[in-house]
Amino acid sequence: MADHQISKPEGPVAIAKAEGASLNPLDPIARFNRSKLKQYTNIEIVVASILFIAIVILAVFGAFLQTHDPMQGDLMARFAKAGEKDYLLGSDHLGRDLWSRAVAGLQWSMACALTANIINLFIGTTLGLMAAEKEGWARTIIRQFTDTLQSFPFLVVAIVVVVIVGHGFVPLVFTLGLLAWVVFMRVVYAEATSIYQRDYVKAARIAGVSRIAIMFGHVLPGVRASLFVIFAFHFAGLLIAESALSFLGIGAPLGVPTWGNMLAESRQYLLKAPGMLMVPAGAIVLAVITMNLVGDGIASLSRKRGRSIDV
């Protein structure tokens, strides 16, 4: 009888045969199943990678993928529906192509969030490491400063500063860059403090390794995995903050095609052209979800490698 198996399969080849897998060494599916890649891959990571690559392509090659000039409108073709008159996603109240504007907005938002995020990463990591190194005035001042910054909702600080320093890409990036590093500092501080207690750091100290070399060569690698994860999640947060400030009319200069500005413009035409709302809204949501997925993916990969990450 087929349901009564006498001998169990032995060895990897027999097991593979019993599971019905092909043993052809050139069969890509079989090779994938046997490879290390498989144990690191799940559906979320696949989706995240596809979305992420799509966003990178759009951000880099956006100029070639735009079907129209995002700033130039055709007043004869206002409020076109999606697919009408070769407008892929429709047109807005000035007859400008929504797809091209969404791509331009993606480039603006990504550039803004990425630059601000890198500034955040540098400031937060450096301050966190300095505060973690030893007790003393540096730790007191840095922690006091972080607490002060944290005692206001981030948006309140950002609104006040952005209005004072003015419109535009550079002021916006520097406002976000110089104010939003708290999350990096807190995580680096928490993890680095415990790493500084490890024997290998103590040994390096006794061996006469310089403070800077210990900080960046011995302690920083220990927090690297967490930094990747926060970088991705924080990226999503900065995307939201950037479009929120632009939406309020205090971030990007008026008229520049950004998601926030597009949303602000759409409010007048909700009845006439719902697409004007849905296109930038969908773009923001997709971008934020992608970055969250990437963060989740990195976190689960590092967990499988035996590092634990708390974010």
């Binding site: 005692s151 209005v163 939406f247 979800i289």
Partner: protein, 332 residues
């Protein structure tokens, strides 16, 4: 039987004496000192930064004012004195809770801000209430047995919702319920008219509840693996009793911290939702006054937000101390 004795002994442990309460208040006094420093630092910083940002006399007089008019206004408000003198007289007034008059409406700035406080608290309170009443049951259900397929679908939905910013939800809700269905007003606020609350509160809650649900779910799932759950199960407790009497209360302790943080972030941080729905709260006033360079109001707002955020954090701490016996330090 065993659960009776357990609850009796825990009641003896959790009895708080007056002395306990006093020692529990010491951190609060330390915190108050911190708050005083914070307000001093922020007021000073804002004073100098805002003076650099624009000339208050110019704001008052308008752009087409003659130099004589400007000089008269400067003399009237004491803006012609050296900056340091202005600073000290300003700080002296602040000590007496006098932030000066609003440049836009000539009302006292602090009074203008105090008018906004109940409205913002109303919005934030309702949003947190809605968030908690969705997140706690949903999170407990999710965390109880996390591997079911329908639970995975719900967590996928939560993941998507986490990526939708509150102001995007607000605009979509307006599109659906105010523009297309004409069911609810798209802006305006009346405290006696619940219809005007629905959309703002839902927009805020939609962004807050996914993260709270995920935290509750993670905490419940972790609690279910603890030894005391195994003991209770061995004692014959039912599944429901396990979840609601043992796992959820412990999970909520962790969630309380997040609820406090979320509530604090809404005090002023709900500026976008308040602006979208013309909800006259602190965030709305902040945007308005910063953009018109209404310095006294900005200063009074910063002062108020600092105090409110501080009180939320302090009361979260206190709630923790009373909820969690482990944090009640006896003589230590």
């Amino acid at each position: 039987m065993s659960s009776d004795t357990a609850s009796a002994s825990s009641a003896a442990n959790t009895k708080t004496t007056a002395q306990d309460i006093l020692t529990g208040l010491i951190p609060l006094f330390l915190q108050l000192r911190k708050l005083a420093w914070l307000i001093f630092a922020v007021t000073t910083l804002l004073f100098f930064v805002l003076r650099q940002a624009g000339d208050p006399a110019l704001v008052l007089a308008g752009n087409d004012a003659t130099p004589e008019q400007l000089a008269a206004i400067r003399a009237q408000f004491g803006l012609d004195r050296p900056l340091l003198i202005q600073y000290f007289s300003y700080m002296w007034n602040v000590l007496q809770f006098d932030f000066g008059k609003s440049l836009a409406s000539a009302e006292p700035a602090l009074g203008k801000v105090l008018d906004m406080v109940p409205r913002t608290l109303h919005l934030a309170g309702m949003a947190i209430l809605l968030t908690a009443s969705i997140a706690i049951p949903l999170g407990s259900w999710l965390g109880f047995k996390p591997e079911n397929p329908e639970r995975r679908m719900v967590s996928g939905f939560l993941f998507v919702m986490q990526g939708v910013p509150g102001f995007v939800t607000a605009l979509v809700l307006i599109q659906i319920f105010a523009v297309n269905l004409r069911l609810l007003p798209s802006l305006g606020y009346e405290w006696y008219e619940p219809k005007t609350w629905v959309l703002p509160v839902c927009s805020l809650a939609s962004f807050l509840f996914p993260s709270l649900t995920r935290v509750v779910a993670a905490n419940v799932a972790e609690a279910m693996r603890e030894d005391y759950i195994r003991t209770a199960r061995a004692n014959g407790a039912s599944q429901m009793a396990l979840l609601w009497k043992h796992a959820v209360p412990n999970a909520l302790l962790g969630a309380a911290a997040l609820i406090g943080t979320q509530f604090a972030a809404l005090l002023g941080g709900s500026a976008i939702i308040e602006t979208i729905f013309s909800w006259p709260g602190m965030g709305w006033l902040l945007l308005e006054s910063v953009q018109t360079l209404d310095f006294p109001v900005v200063q009074a707002l910063a002062f108020m937000i600092a105090i409110l955020v501080f009180s939320v954090n302090a009361s979260t701490d206190l709630v923790f101390r009373f909820l969690d016996p482990r944090l009640r330090t006896k003589g230590a």
